[in-house]
Symmetry: C2
Subunit: 342 residues, 2 copies
DNA sequence: TTGAAAGCGATACCAA
DNA sequence: TTGGTATCGCTTTCAA
């Protein structure tokens, strides 16, 4: 009776590969993981066996001994409509995925409903993943503190509020971006300025506003015309209406996201204001929407794709030499993109 | 010397829990997994030990023996801008997540670039996940065939092209939806009808068009004014322009998605047509965008949230009694939502 | 370069 | 109800 090399039921195991290749399990394992310290002869035999059997290592078994999972989490602390409707999120997803694909890592999506961070942290601490990428971080979610406490490799996209030195993060210089927007309006001769700022509990919201105020006040003008938006179009619409009601004479408007700027454009249109004739408008992000508004948006470019890709690579670096690595912070410069609205 | 109950380095293991609780590993395991066949006394002791140690089972070890991973994949065969920009996707993500959260399952996002389905299938076949949810399925991606071959529990959102009987899926009756749209325009007295259809290689695109043609031709009118769009706003804009050029006298337009309808509205505005005065417009989906266009969109409701939630529960049912379950197909009825555009 | 053997941390069978 | 033990499939010393 000839030995049956294929398991009756399940997927082929390393053992079967080894038997078919005529080597030991240890050698087969080495051959599969890089092929170091394996004779060419054995290597080919194993590769051949892997191919004919259609062998794939069992990830659980591997992970049990290596203590790696080859999975990375994308943590989104606030999974409401806003996040998914925002093109920012789509870009993020694509960029993360592009990098992970290169190394055959899997992307686990972790959405934490507000107030349920505990669940998220428990999950993270179980070490079900090798590392985490955090986006859309809010001031009070304590994620930064907890992650740095956990010792789990993590990279933030967008500067975290706390533990700024001990964490790795990637961001753009949002303060400089706010300055650029203000300067553009000033250069265009606008003097009655207003802004639709982002959420106060997000670094991007606070920083863009800070840069804006700095330049506006530096020019001897008032920076008191401020409304908060939530980065959505409808938020921008509402804020735009409110600002127009309070400051009917405004001639320059900065919205801290293109989506909000699009909403503001609608508010201006409703009110019969021409853009950029009556009011010049500057947005932020430079995502597709900026080219689709009418008029098209002059905006501050936020290099989302590059940022996220860089953040992901930073995370992979940390995973590669775990523990050894100092936290890194990378700041991308913003740039003004001129179109028709200002 | 007292015995050290906590491991020096890593996370606590079941062994330590058992020792602390004064029971065997087997009993501790039972206590943790449902607590059946465990005395109340032992149960409390184990629970107590788990708490003080902060014990979390090692998922890899567990998965090695149970042969479950407690993870399900969301498979998106086409991860380009379109998918992420589409609010449909955001709804899907949220709905899936809501259901998975209930059972502590994790969501693994699998994006297959066109032409790289092989990689995806290899991954799926490695059984790194317990089941798959497939959205945005295209005619030629062979996903349906392969999945049903793999024997991996899977549920499609949107009718698959092949293996319709042997797979589980959830869909709306898109043919009926197309009929509803056509009927609405006819009822409004429109006679020169055109449609912006969805991609021909997606079931939703084909079915909505089929229903449309059925009613339009049934009324003795021509259904030859058709342009294909890719479900995006810019696609709708282009298609709208083309249709207006070819059929300057059209008075009724059906777009197979709200996003395309929004694009078409822009094309109509450009051309100086009033809506619904000159041209009545009906969209499809009834996502937020339908309420944000001007005029607001009369549209066919596509219950994405319910569909996806149902699909996810179907998948969980399959996972619960694996193998035993017959494939199920669920079809939700569409409904016309009246607003201002038609 | 190779292979024997010792785990990794859980679950599940079976006898007690 | 309990605990001993085999087992899951792989990686990784350690000798040879």
């Amino acid at each position: 009776m000839s030995e049956d090399l294929t398991a009756p039921g399940g997927a082929p195991t390393l053992d079967e590969v080894a038997r078919l290749a005529g080597v030991s399990r240890a050698t087969a394992s080495r051959a599969i993981n890089g092929g170091h310290r394996v004779s060419p002869r054995a290597l080919t035999a194993v590769e051949e066996a892997v191919r004919t059997l259609g062998y794939r290592p069992n990830p659980a078994a591997r992970s049990l001994v290596t203590r790696r999972t080859d999975a990375v989490a994308l943590v989104v602390p606030e999974p409401d409509e806003r996040v998914f409707a925002d093109p920012f999120f789509g870009h993020t997803l694509r960029s993360v995925n592009r990098v992970l694909d290169e190394r055959d890592l899997q992307l686990v999506l972790l959405l934490a409903r507000p107030g349920e961070e505990g669940r998220l942290l428990r999950y993270l601490s179980r070490r079900n993943i090798d590392g985490a990428l955090v986006v859309s971080h809010h001031r009070h979610d304590r994620l930064a503190e907890h992650l740095s406490g956990l010792g789990l490799p993590a990279v933030f996209v967008g500067r975290p509020w706390a533990a700024v030195q001990t964490l790795s993060w990637v961001d753009t210089d949002n303060v400089a971006g706010g300055r650029l927007a203000a300067q553009r309006l000033l250069d265009g001769g606008r003097r009655r300025l207003a802004t639709i700022a982002g959420p106060a509990d997000m670094a991007a919201g606070a920083d863009r506003l800070a840069g804006w105020c700095e330049v506006v006040e530096g020019a001897g003008l008032s920076a008191s015309a401020v409304r908060r938006g939530d980065f959505t179009e409808s938020g921008g619409l509402a804020a735009g209406r409110a600002l127009l009601a309070e400051h009917p004479d405004l001639d320059g408007l900065f919205a801290a996201s293109d989506l909000m700027a699009a909403g503001a454009l609608r508010a201006l249109a409703e009110a019969g204001r021409s853009v950029p004739g009556d009011v010049a408008v500057v947005g932020y992000d430079d995502l597709e929407v900026a080219e689709r508004t009418s008029p098209t948006l002059t905006t501050v470019r936020n290099p989302v794709g590059e940022m996220v890709e860089r953040a992901t690579r930073l995370l992979l670096d940390q995973l590669a030499d775990v523990g050894e690595r100092e936290p890194e912070q990378v700041v991308f410069p913003p740039a003004l993109v001129s179109r028709d609205s200002a």
